[in-house]
């Protein structure tokens, strides 16, 4: 090449160095702009990652099934391990910002095998939530059609198994295609979606309370201080199951803590955004949880929140009686937020798979980036295929697929968050006692959080062997939730062993080395 061939010299914009071997020989990377998100933007991102309308409709029922009226208590307590783990997550993210997150961090702390399983847990959790998001979107899609045309038969179409599966696969395919094309939900759309969700949830709560006040509620139940007492929960099993579900409702909150360079004031914005986000979320969760319990009670008949019929998607049942003709707004809010989350969540397993491919922990194909759309191509399609397969299997084997997937999901999140938190403790073990800040954030908080989550994981996994667990579906005398959760983890172990045979470099620990 002649000397005229030159690269324009500009320093690499990112903070990322060394980790992957060489530094960049100066490429101009103008336009990779940092510092564009302010406090409100960061809160919107946090709330949109949590997607409260979707989360509540998916998790409220299953949680009530476990802990009954102590729902508010468990929602509050569930935040504690999430907070503790998120501190560790933030420390790791600051030290090693990487697309592989849990996979990379656990590999650096515990070596390739545990690292691989950490990555697998993260991928499995996001794949499971994808199939659940698509299913919820489909339910509310048909519900909304029914509401638009005033024809309840249309809403019932979602119970037609082949049609339901076909529609869900279409939704997954569409979201995959959008993600593959590298199109992302824009800032404006997220602002509108988040604002709309909060508005509709507020409306639902107000409407439910006014029914209670007017004596038109289904099963008016007086709020009691006991609802906020986590020790009033019947058994440790129920408590563990409730907490692992409420981990799911805060899942995504951690993103606010890890936004640094992209915020306008990296010193203060992430902390404030995390605080504001969690306040917004807790207020909306408490209000809606109290409204639901006050209006419907926890009875297991009719509209009761304890009725297994209602627990897969509580708002699908309650929005109509509570909000009257405006229930269509709830359908619209949940449909739009779950559809948007479906698309934005696709990014996560795709990036983790891409990163694992990059570190030679998966076949080369997973590290492909589409030259045309500049998105992880193979990884995105693989995620969609996995989500579709998971949905088809669950739907055809479970009596209540939504319920069982959410329970399995809670377990999976506990699994990989637990590993991640302990990875933080182990990775920073040399610094643990170098000061109060390091002791708390790099040692104590993640240690407590990680242990709590892994205990919840083991307890829930053990309990879910009971064929009556979750929606009460079982295969061969084992609860379906156990089969789903453990099956996914075992599948991970098998794939890991195959990979170790096929592509041993990563498992020799030479690609991602341990230690600081």
């Amino acid at each position: 090449m002649s000397t005229e061939h030159g690269m324009s010299k500009t320093s690499h914009a990112g903070p990322h160095k060394g980790e992957h071997g060489e530094n960049h020989h100066g490429l101009s990377e103008k336009g990779l702009k940092a510092g564009s998100v302010g406090l409100i933007g960061a809160v919107v991102i946090g709330v949109s990652c949590i997607a409260p309308a979707y989360t509540l409709t998916a998790a409220l029922g299953p949680t009530v099934a476990e802990v009954g009226v102590q729902l508010p208590a468990v929602f509050l307590v569930g935040f504690i391990p999430m907070l503790l783990v998120a501190f560790g997550y933030r420390e790791l993210n600051n030290a090693m910002p990487d697309a592989g997150t849990s996979f990379t961090w656990a590999s650096r702390a515990f070596g390739p095998w545990i690292g691989w399983m950490g990555g697998w847990g993260l991928i499995a959790a996001t794949i499971i939530v994808l199939s659940n998001l698509a299913a919820v979107a489909v339910d509310f899609f048909y519900l909304m059609l029914g509401q638009i045309f005033g024809n309840p038969d249309l809403a019932d179409l979602t119970k037609n198994l082949p049609l339901n599966i076909a529609t869900t696969l279409v939704f997954i395919t569409l979201a995959c295609w959008i993600s593959y094309r590298g199109m992302e939900t824009t800032k404006t759309v997220q602002y509108v979606l988040v604002g709309f969700q909060l508005l509709v949830l507020g409306w639902f709560a107000v409407a439910a309370f006014s029914h209670v006040a007017n004596g038109t509620a289904f099963d008016a139940t007086a709020i009691s201080p006991d609802w906020f007492n986590p020790f009033a929960v019947g058994s440790f099993s129920a408590f563990a199951a409730g907490v692992s579900l409420s981990i799911f409702i805060y899942w995504g909150w951690d993103v606010t803590l890890t936004m640094n360079e992209e915020t306008k004031n990296p010193e203060k914005t992430p902390g404030r955004a995390a605080t504001v986000t969690v306040l917004v979320i807790v207020i909306i969760y408490m209000t809606v949880a109290l409204a639901t319990l006050s209006y419907a009670g926890v009875g297991d008949t009719g509209l009761g929140a304890g009725n297994p019929e209602n627990q897969g998607s509580i708002f699908a049942v309650l929005a109509g009686p509570v909000m009257g003709p405006f229930a269509i707004l709830m359908s619209l809010a949940i449909l739009s937020s779950s559809a948007a989350s479906l698309q934005s969540t696709f990014v996560s397993p795709a990036r983790t798979l891409l990163s694992m491919g990059h570190y030679k922990a998966l076949p080369q194909k997973f590290s492909q980036i589409s030259p045309t759309y500049k998105s992880p191509s193979y990884a995105t399609i693989a995620s969609a295929a996995a989500a579709a397969a998971f949905y088809v299997i669950t739907r055809t084997t479970s009596e209540n697929a939504l319920w069982d997937t959410i329970t399995a999901l809670g377990m999976m999140i506990c699994f990989y968050y637990g590993i991640t938190a302990l990875a933080c403790v182990w990775f920073f073990r040399a610094q643990a006692f170098t000061g109060a800040h390091a002791f708390f954030f790099k040692f104590l908080a993640p240690l407590l959080g990680g242990v709590i989550l892994l205990v919840m994981f083991v307890k829930t996994a053990y309990d879910s062997m009971d064929p009556q667990y979750g929606s009460g579906s079982s295969i061969g005398g084992l609860g379906l939730v156990f089969i789903l959760g453990m099956g996914v983890i075992l599948l991970g172990v098998v794939l890991m062993l195959v990979m170790a045979k096929v592509r041993p470099e990563f498992f020799k620990g030479t690609v991602l080395s341990r230690g600081n």
Binding site: M1, G6, S8, I45, D98, T185, E261
Partner: protein
């Protein structure tokens, strides 16, 4: 003189690099290969941190740019740039403005399999917004030698004179012949009428050409060899097929930019020509030509050094 090349690591990107090399060789232009990556932002990605992914993307993009540089022969100065923006088109236009580029070169094909040219999304976005001429490489363009002939599509629209001046400038600077092309769409029924229309078009073209040549104020010996070609068919596409095209030829077409925003930059006739055209096309913005008289230092693309 700088040409900005919109590169992507696919066949389309190769077409663009080849065309850019062909265009640069006749004029000693330098190339700026621009690879646009999407802005990695938080608003559209749940549970997916940005930092590390951006790094992987950058690493891959850099590898692609290294490969792209290797496609350019050593006689052509070239630089590589990695850009991000809301869209590829946006990033390219920004780069072109920043470098004061004289031309944007892109591979224009979409994934359509039937026609040589069917406009891709980036190309069509560019054609709606670019402020400099845009060169569109047809599918599978592999030539890397200087141009051998310039064709200029002559319409009856106002502004044709400006385009002709521009074309003459290019032909002179590159020392290649200029062919003025008139394409007619006629329903075949009446051969006499067709012949008449063709003659009228030829007269029109020759008249304009004659007016343009001395009017360009060039010294003796700076007039290009010129010819006029008229082709007709039942459709524009058929007319294009009936003309002979040299491998090293490009067709200049004036844009019909009616308004900003959603308006069609490329007129409907030009789009149809594009569909059938076997050689590259350069679309020249209409306001671009109008700028020329204000820049007395150059009779050609601004910035092109005089011989």
């Amino acid at each position: 003189m700088r040409y900005v090349v919109g590169y992507s690591a696919n066949a389309r990107g190769h077409d663009a690099v080849n065309l850019a090399v062909s265009l640069a060789l006749g004029r000693g232009a330098s190339l700026d290969l621009v690879l646009a990556v999407p802005e990695v932002q938080q608003f559209g990605a749940a549970h997916a941190p940005r930092a590390g992914y951006e790094h992987l993307l950058t690493e891959q993009a850099q590898e692609w740019l290294d490969q792209a540089m290797a496609l350019v022969p050593s006689g052509v100065p070239v630089q590589a740039h990695l850009r991000s923006g809301e869209s590829d088109a946006h990033a390219l236009i920004e780069a072109a403005e920043e470098f004061g580029a004289d031309l944007l070169v892109i591979g224009a094909t979409s994934n359509g399999i039937f026609k040589r040219f069917s406009i891709g999304s980036v190309a069509s976005a560019l054609l709606h917004a670019a402020t400099v001429p845009v060169a569109l490489a047809p599918r599978g363009y592999h030539r890397q030698e200087a141009l051998t002939r310039i064709s200029c599509g002559l319409g009856s629209r106002a502004g044709a004179e400006k385009l002709l001046d521009f074309a003459i400038g290019i032909a002179v600077n590159r020392d290649v012949p200029l062919r003025v092309v008139s394409l007619l769409e006629l329903d075949g029924g009446d051969p006499a009428g067709a012949a008449g229309a063709a003659d009228a078009a030829r007269d029109y073209a020759e008249e304009h050409l004659a007016a343009a040549l001395p009017g360009a104020g060039r010294e003796a010996g700076q007039e290009p060899k010129t010819e006029v070609a008229v082709a007709h068919g039942r459709s524009i596409e058929e007319a294009v097929d009936r003309l002979d095209w040299e491998d090293g030829e490009v067709l200049l077409i004036g844009s019909s930019r009616l308004a900003k925003g959603r308006s069609i930059f490329l007129g409907s006739t030009a789009s149809r020509i594009l569909r059938a055209l076997p050689v590259p096309m350069i679309v020249v913005p209409s306001n671009y030509e109008l700028k020329q008289p204000d820049q007395p230092a150059s009779n050609d693309i601004p910035g092109e050094a005089q011989k």
